[in-house]
């Protein structure tokens, strides 16, 4: 399983390096979302600082849906799907590999958006750095959930509209825990129980993905 995971992760990352969809589409969308959120909040620095954690995680969530859709779409072509299914890759390994690749891509996205928080929302840099481990944990959960739901809607023909409807409610705990935990760290405290919520999401969806990815592959 791990061997196949490494193989699939390498393949997805190579495709991303070649196509640069993350770089030219997903990251700019995330930055755009931050800018639009700031416009909606108004220019007062206090309001922006107060709203920063929530808006950061909203931008991450929305951009992650795009990234997850892209990850699932790599195998969207019928011929690609058929030829890959004949390779006999371990389904759990495929899930872990795709989730790992998506995780790395989302880490890059998160890093760019953190810079956006510093610049656009006047957040304290040192405290933002202290929130990064929590963010990494949350991003891992986003990757696991996004990969699993991406497989769920692959082959439906309406994944671009269906995926957000299905995955965003499931990501509500990540949004809540990410926002609350980040806000707590930015306020000078620790993430507390919110790190536990994120860890539970990661473990639960990681395990579910390994078990359920195989049956889902048969549906695309």
């Amino acid at each position: 399983m791990l061997r196949d995971a490494v193989l699939v992760a390498g393949k997805d990352l190579r495709i991303e390096l070649r196509s640069r969809v993350l770089l030219w589409q997903v990251v700019p969308f995330g930055v755009l979302a931050l800018i639009l959120f700031a416009l909606a909040l108004g220019p007062a620095p206090s309001a922006l600082r107060h709203g920063a954690p929530g808006l950061f995680w909203m931008a991450m969530l929305l951009a992650s849906v795009l990234a997850a859709s892209r990850s699932a779409g790599i195998e969207a072509e019928e011929g690609t799907r058929a030829s890959v299914r004949l390779l006999g890759l371990d389904a759990g390994g495929v899930f872990l590999g795709k989730a790992a690749a998506l995780f790395l891509e989302l880490c890059i996205l998160g890093a760019v958006l953190e810079v956006g928080l510093l610049v656009l929302f006047h957040v304290d840099g040192a405290r933002l750095g202290a929130a990064t481990p929590l963010a990494v944990l949350a991003v891992a959960g986003l990757a696991a959930v996004g990969t699993l739901y991406g497989a769920l809607v692959a082959g439906t023909g309406v994944s671009s509209t269906l995926l957000p409807l299905l995955v965003l409610p499931a990501l509500a705990p990540v949004l809540i825990a990410g926002e609350r935990g980040t806000a707590a760290v930015l306020a000078g405290g620790g993430p507390g129980r919110w790190a536990l919520v994120l860890a539970v999401m990661l473990v639960v969806y990681g395990a579910l993905g390994v078990v359920l990815y195989g049956p889902l592959e048969e549906t695309s």
């Binding site: 495709i15 058929a82 004949l86």
Partner: protein, 223 residues
């Protein structure tokens, strides 16, 4: 010896449409079978069923000793399919695609370059993203994969389509080599004379069933 492929009253659905409506077919090991028929006769669906990609709705089907009703996933590891559409990833080069596929199939990836050479995808072509290649070149990549993988059952869906005359000769030679090496081949085609020239047996499909079976005109091909 048990046949490599044995179907009895095999029914397979595409959605609710009975693509295969009761196929009876036996294919001996090492045999080349050409399946002919009009559009919508069920040729592609037959190949997909044999590849374990389409679910058997009713009837019985055995491929390389595996029961398709219960061992569909196991069958996939033993067959190779050349479909209509692009195989593998458009953003990767033929060399990268074959290396990935060989590693996934637990084979030595160093065999990729020899197979690409065999089909004429050398030099710059081997290192160009597949989406930038012509349809014929993409099809050659699919043939290179089968050559590298050497599955026990080759499934070729209209392999001559999109290939130039040299490519067609190459395809026929690869089919002949595979069969001489003990592999079983099932191919579909609209080009009856050409298909018959590479096949030991020619079957005709219509309405999702086999309606005719005759001996082919197989002769050896070199390319």
């Amino acid at each position: 010896m048990a046949p490599a492929v044995s179907l009895r009253s095999a029914v397979a659905l595409l959605g609710r449409f009975p693509a295969l409506a009761g196929v009876d077919l036996d294919v001996e090991e090492g045999c080349v079978v050409a399946a002919l028929g009009a559009n919508g006769a069920g040729k592609t669906s037959l190949l997909q069923l044999l590849a374990g990609l389409l679910e058997l709705r009713s009837g019985t089907a055995s491929v390389l000793g595996c029961d398709l009703a219960r061992e569909r996933v196991e069958v996939r590891r033993r067959v190779g399919l050349l479909g209509h559409r692009l195989s593998f990833y458009a953003d990767l080069t033929p060399a990268e695609n074959l290396a990935f596929a060989l590693r996934a199939a637990r084979r030595d990836p160093s065999g990729a370059s020899a197979s690409l050479d065999r089909v004429g995808l050398t030099g710059r072509l081997a290192s160009t993203p597949t989406r930038s290649l012509s349809a014929g070149q993409q099809r050659r990549m699919g043939l290179a994969w089968l050559h590298a993988r050497r599955p026990a059952l080759w499934l070729l869906d209209e392999p001559h389509a999109a290939l130039d005359p040299q490519g067609r000769e190459l395809c026929d030679a690869l089919v002949d080599e595979a069969a001489c090496g003990g592999a079983t081949v099932v191919l579909t085609s609209h080009d009856e004379p050409r298909a018959a020239s590479v096949a030991d047996v020619v079957v005709t499909l219509a309405g999702g069933v086999v309606t005719d079976k005759r001996t082919g005109d197989r002769r050896h091909h070199v390319a």
